[in-house]
Symmetry: D2
Subunit: 384 residues, 4 copies
């Protein structure tokens, strides 16, 4: 590739949090250039956002449909689009660009339900396009080290997994004194889908478990709760989990856990050792053997595996964070897109970004949680 990749964006105009994150992730390594966008359903707002980002006005569109059509036709059209609209629009926008043959990096969740997810999965397969889903926590170098340790058998046979994701930002709303931090659209089933908390952050925990251990959930028993009065959708959810091979576990997520901020943690216990990773201190990975001193693996060191090293940008103890992890997803997807453009073969072992299949698996997890909870936490199998 002798030029920067050309990126378009749908959504993510002025004031949108996640669009800004995607742009920084794309900018960081100097290999991607934002050149087009439909930043808002309001053409005027889209135009203003385009100015914020110093875009050529002719590449700022009033609708994503127009953008897909025009950019697909240009010789110097975008190489991929980043989709950062609200959840319920992911499906329509993704479908439009996939059908136009344009590669996609899509914010999670993939779609509103598993049926939509499978339709996108089908389009990706048929269309030979790159589709990356930004389950960004898998981008952390020490998460990649955790995955490597499990894959290399350093933990022995896995016995138990505990993944937790408590946040507290919505707790104020429980007594009505809050500031409605769970935006209305998140609480509206038409926009958010069948779940709020499990759908929004529980899926991150689920995805992280799958990425690190490569274990499938067979069935789960879930208790979802809406603590905020008047809301239809859950703001807290706890699951007992049975994985394949007799592995047991707990996955839970919460938005009413007062004072917790973004407290995503995972512990994986094996017959030889266990590991523990905390998103809020992402540069460390705690490794525990029976009858041996505890070990802390630290990002940036030579003793780490290849993936952890390749996904680091700074020397040890020059902390990396959320944006760098996010950028690793972009880098991996960008590598796939560049290779496709250049006609290169994929590297041995493939590319390391979350795919549409991960998105469908997330939809299946959400559905099982919701169904189980409606059925008084009965054991519920995950749809394949």
């Amino acid at each position: 590739m002798n030029r920067k990749l050309r990126m378009g964006m749908v959504g993510g105009g002025r004031g949108a949090f996640i669009g800004q994150i995607h742009r920084m992730a794309a900018n960081l390594d100097g290999k991607i250039e934002l050149i087009a966008g439909a930043f808002s359903s309001s053409p005027e707002k889209s135009k203003l956002s385009g100015e914020d980002f110093f875009l050529d006005p002719s590449r700022v569109y009033g609708s994503y449909q127009e953008m897909a059509t025009v950019e697909a036709a240009r010789e110097d059209g975008i190489d991929f689009v980043s989709i950062v609209v609200q959840n319920h629009l992911h499906f329509d926008v993704a479908k439009t660009f996939l059908e136009a043959g344009i590669n996609v990096i899509c914010d999670k969740p993939l779609a509103l339900n598993i049926e939509q997810g499978k339709e996108l999965q089908e389009l990706v397969k048929k269309g030979d396009v790159i589709f990356a889903l930004t389950h960004n926590y898998t981008g952390y170098p020490m998460v990649k080290e955790a995955k490597r340790m499990v894959a290399d058998g350093e933990l022995g046979r896995i016995l138990k997994i505990v993944a937790e994701y408590p946040q507290g930002y919505a707790v104020g709303d429980v007594e009505g004194e809050g500031t409605s931090k769970i935006a209305n659209w998140r609480a509206d089933p038409k926009i958010a889908g069948s779940s709020n908390c499990i759908g929004d952050i529980g899926t991150h925990a689920h995805n992280l478990v799958k990425y690190i251990t490569d274990l499938e959930i067979e069935e789960l028993a879930a208790e979802l709760t809406a603590f905020i009065p008047g809301r239809e959708l859950d703001d807290d959810g706890n699951c007992l989990v049975r994985f394949e091979g007799g592995v047991k576990g707990i996955i839970y997520a919460s938005q009413i856990s007062n004072g917790d901020e973004n407290n995503l943690n995972i512990r994986v216990y094996g017959t030889k050792a266990s590991l523990e990773w905390h998103q809020e201190e992402p540069n460390d990975l705690l490794v525990k053997f029976a009858n041996a001193p505890r070990e802390t693996y630290r990002r940036g060191n030579d003793y780490l595996g290849a993936a952890a090293q390749a996904n680091s940008r700074t020397p040890f103890a020059h902390p990396e964070g959320f944006i760098e992890a996010f950028a690793n997803v972009y880098l991996a997807a960008a590598a796939a897109i560049s290779d496709k453009i250049d006609g290169n073969e994929p590297p041995e072992g493939g590319y390391d970004y979350p795919t549409v299949d991960d998105g469908v698996a997330g939809m299946a997890f959400i559905k099982a949680c919701v169904d189980s909870s409606k059925n008084n936490a009965a054991w519920t199998k995950l749809e394949q």
Copy 2:
């Protein structure tokens, strides 16, 4: 009281871990003196242990029955007995001393099952004797501070509780390469009762939740697992919990969580604030408010409540630990016994030690876990 309290002990001879802990807890404050014992079912071993502890040989007994009879008849007989025998003998020994009118400090669990527990409960009520159960984790000053904060409403209305108690010491046995660290008697239902892991340490987590929050569990859904091949009893257990008043929670315990040592933790989330306490760093209590800096309450400071202060022995940051917490249970029970002997009224608010009622509640918790698990984690109510 113008003399030290006279203590007897049943069990706890040479090499017994928990007996040694009880003796140190009793010794620490110089208010209790060990003067009699039936330290082993072997009279010879009992005698040798008596020599270890510098006892008058005439007060070292070959059987606990003899000890109860003789000591009850002496004018200078023991003021109370500490029972530190194996779990399945708690009931018989406790019954014997209660019937002899002797006060009891008994190691947990109370008994093998809820029926035994209720029989002891009845004896305690009828006999007007002091009965303390060493759920020692409630003896930590910062646990008492946590209880105070909840009682004073500083957390607001409680929404969610997460209590976890992973240990890893038995994991080696899972693949048969271990050293059978879960002693045979713990895995034998005749001796250990219906549960190993939940019975041994899950009850500590349950008791801690109850002590801090004063909330009753209404029903639970439990998944107990025996990872160690050939064992009948659980070495891991995970529960979804419904407390009274719509409070939700998770309680879990494990003995196969590799590298975890004694990792008892509790988090209590309320509408105003949450708290977090870790047994392995017991001098700190983490308090989290939404939109405010995190606070760490530290043992030994003047800003703490009365109970936290009264149960501290050293200035701040001169760490206290497990034995001091255990000794606080002894001190509280000793106060009750002294007051009874001296004919003093109990203090306002009563004494702060775990009672036979806590023991019965623990039996009910274990039974519900076992029953639920046998029934594929069906929701199961706790016996009152």
Copy 3:
């Protein structure tokens, strides 16, 4: 500013660590574009680096002198240059661009000695150009919060300051079994100046103290040591410090502190409260009052001051790190450059980036340390 700022770079070709950091810091926010460079003293290597960064070949130069001349003359010339060459070349390169009237962002240290520093200081004053020095640790949001707390008097009167900066990467060289991680140029007085360890990282600690407390050092007593055999320059240095107003302190730095990575820490003690910040966990600021619970201020929260908030990019507990802090220096310098170009007035309170004056102060600190150490740690005043 209706376009991205145009950035040039001197040094920082393929494989250079610090150049890559500068480019990521510049890229992150999408407001700066690298368009020109003299990346190496070898024209061929410079050209290859230009290709790596997708630059127009006509803007890739074989010498920095040529680059200064040509870019200064172009209407679309660079708005500023980033200088990331070896320490001993900072002076010549900076002087060249300052004399060409081009704004400068220069890696630290400013120069080889205080005389060079003052010459650059003079040029900056005369030339009305922006000059920023990348003392990047001041870019961390929680460092800015610390500064605010001190300035607002929340700590009371400052009594004592302890700043430490141990690293261990060079320890292997002490016994000759290392990999000479302290590059030859760092140990060569002609290239590194009069100090290695104090010059390279001690100055960071010094700068951080000054930034947070705004206190000048009056005199210091320093003991510098070269533990690595055969090296002329220090790899470890410890200083007793007397600040203005009777404030006392310790500043130390080390490259032979085995296993420490980038362990820059500062503690500031005042009559009302103290604070503590650890570079390796940069999102937290520990605040300690006497007789009150400890507080942890966490990046991304609304309760923080304006500067801490304005310099954050992600919500709380979505960790930010070294690159984001570095980028904050770039953003502040970019704001100054944009305002100058647009003819805007500086904001009230000015811009928040390290200046040439900070660089001169650093030179004075190094000189005092070296002079004191040569004089058996005699108290030595800092040159003004």
Copy 4:
């Protein structure tokens, strides 16, 4: 020994903090019995304290001189005396008991000055009595593990040592709004000797360094400060240190470090590895190798050395603290006293308690600090 050791106490009556600590340390293991005391210079107060501890009134004395005479003459007299009076009386009381041929466990500091220290040293040598000084921090199991690692060469050659001991309890007095927490006697040279802060806690840091590394200080440069107005003695002190063999270091102590509680820390850096121990989390020992994961050694594990294991009472992660460490000093001294009484040979390697020689070394450290500081932090050799 077929009985408990008989202990007497001088000082430590009602309300005295350190006397209570000594009694708990003596009680803990059930091998020592308090049977006599001169708890106060007021006979009436001494009598009341004797009642608190349930002593035979005939063994409660109105003066320590009487106690020494009477107890020395009794066949069942005390086996040793614990001296817990104010610092300036240590010398007189210790001398009295040593001359009476009674073993001594004395609180630190040994005496008011090095001359007194040497006189006691002489008495101990001549009298063939046991003399233990309660530098209790050496009693922590993980401190013993640190000592073992250094002795076994696991750190390689030692290069640098940093020991710090900040407390903040006296900071309120700096502005006159405090509660005079530094008691008047501590600030009175006639009672406290030539130093307050260095004498009271700096010596603990010094002793810890010596215990772990077995390195002698050759000379030091010290800056002592009295921040509290109107006080003659230091409440803060910072030292540059030169150890034998070219080892460098920093030792500092403070009582005006706001919000710090009992923050004694030591870091020892060697050519192969470094270690780090924090008194406030005493059950952990951090071990750092270059280019390897960080290790945390945890008390109670089988992988620890013999001394760490022998000085533990509870299983791993059942935290031990300050009192248990203190009790380890008592246990070691009690073993020496018992062996002397029983006519046993000392064990190979001797007993592990701080001696009168450690006390004299502490006096020399204090003197050097005070002399250096008076001499504007000039390098000052330690008296041998």
